[in-house]
């Protein structure tokens, strides 16, 4: 089963969106909303596309608006991968 791990997400947030410990506290990073993390819509697309590329699990564009936190992206990948 494909998985986008918490560590991979933290890396994605840092490298793809410029969110680091300096911009948001580490402990609840994954459950903060992208909005609170300062990620604009392009930044969310970039993170979603990275999760897709890393795991091979397709994330359709129309699913993206519901992915409001880093964990929701991770959960989406896990659920699709379980179905497959």
């Amino acid at each position: 089963m494909a998985e986008f791990t918490g560590d991979q997400m933290r890396l994605a947030l840092r490298e793809s969106a410029g969110v680091d410990a300096g911009t948001y506290p580490e402990d609840n990073l994954l459950d903060a909303t992208f909005e609170d993390l300062g990620c604009d819509s392009l930044a969310v697309l970039e993170i979603v596309s990275r999760a897709q590329n890393v795991t091979g699990v397709p994330i359709p564009e129309d699913a993206v608006p519901d992915l409001t936190t880093p964990r929701s992206v991770m959960d989406f990948v896990a659920s699709r991968s379980a179905v497959a």
Binding site: E15, S16, A17, G18, V19, D20, T23, L42, A43, E46
Partner: protein, 404 residues
Amino acid sequence: VTGRTLVTGLGVVAPTGLGAEEHWAQTLAGKNMIDRISRFDPTTYPVRVAGEVRVFDGPEKLPSRLAVQTDRWTHFALYATELALADASLDPATVNEYELAVITASSSGGTEFGQREIERLWSAGPEYVGVYQSIAWFYAASTGQISIRHGMRGACGVVCAEQAGGLDAMAASVRQLRAGARVVVTGGTDASLCPYGLTAQLTTGHLSPSDDPDRAYRPFDDTATGYVPGEGGAILVMESEESVAARGAGTVYGEFAGHAATFDAPPGRGREPGLRRAAEQALARAGVTPDDVDLVFADAAGRPGADRAETEAICALFGARGVPVTAPKTMTGRLYAGGAALDVATALLALRDQVAPPTIGVDRVDPGGPLDLVRSPRDLRLRTVLVLARGHGGFNSAAVLRAA
């Protein structure tokens, strides 16, 4: 509104340093900042020396979320804007956001960013191309990011006229001030010292193939072999006289008093290049005659034909050895969209300190020749300075700066 246009803030990011003062001190010292390219291995390229911004830590100074979305050329512009606003003691939040305009020059867009994404496209596939490519590469990206970051919602624009763009962006800024803007953030930067950016520049055939940083760029020398590319530029805060008076702005570097742009006829038509006409019209618009000009910043193409054409244009206006001429860009290389913007910043510092900065690398140019080249800092009574710029493809621009 037809009052004077004043420059109240300078932000420099250049091979000569970060900030106007560091740049000015290095420029007066006549230190050559051209060196072997270090941003990538240039061994297999026909051009191997350049003027790099070596000490830039802008990405660390910028918000990280913004830094990952933008090219190095925009990092330069954003950081230079911060410096310029601080220098002008201007907090944009204190001005009506619709009276704050942003007009910059761009020549290559975000080539380094674009190269990374093209590499991903060809090595991994289209799904690996990052979404920021859509906003990072294009010419207006720096203007847009400056506008967003500082809440400047007045007129925004970008001018692409290669090396002449810096002056043309400032002229466009004057038009916005006359149309009611209070403050314009203007100028230009460039950062094309990556394999893709450099390769694109090579197509002109005008870059110097020399490996010797001290001999590669030697304008007005009959044996010149082309110019050296550089990166960086300058961002200026321009204000209407009313705005300066109303907020009691501290430093006024000088007045952007006149500008004109012309375009060359296609090669082979036998028509005079447009540089002289641009200079003449700029002087007329500033209400001065050649006799009033105390110093000329030359375009200094670094190619014998183009240098002769500039020498002829200058001599046609001022007579042989009729005015001191300088080209501090001999220390940095030509910065494209950043070049003329930096020349304006340097010219304003010259007006402030009443000293003409030197031209280096011209030791073999006849000291008795038709140009009175400033070869070491020269104390002068400076009231009016003419800045010349030419962009590849036929652009000519001239700007007249006057002491405030």
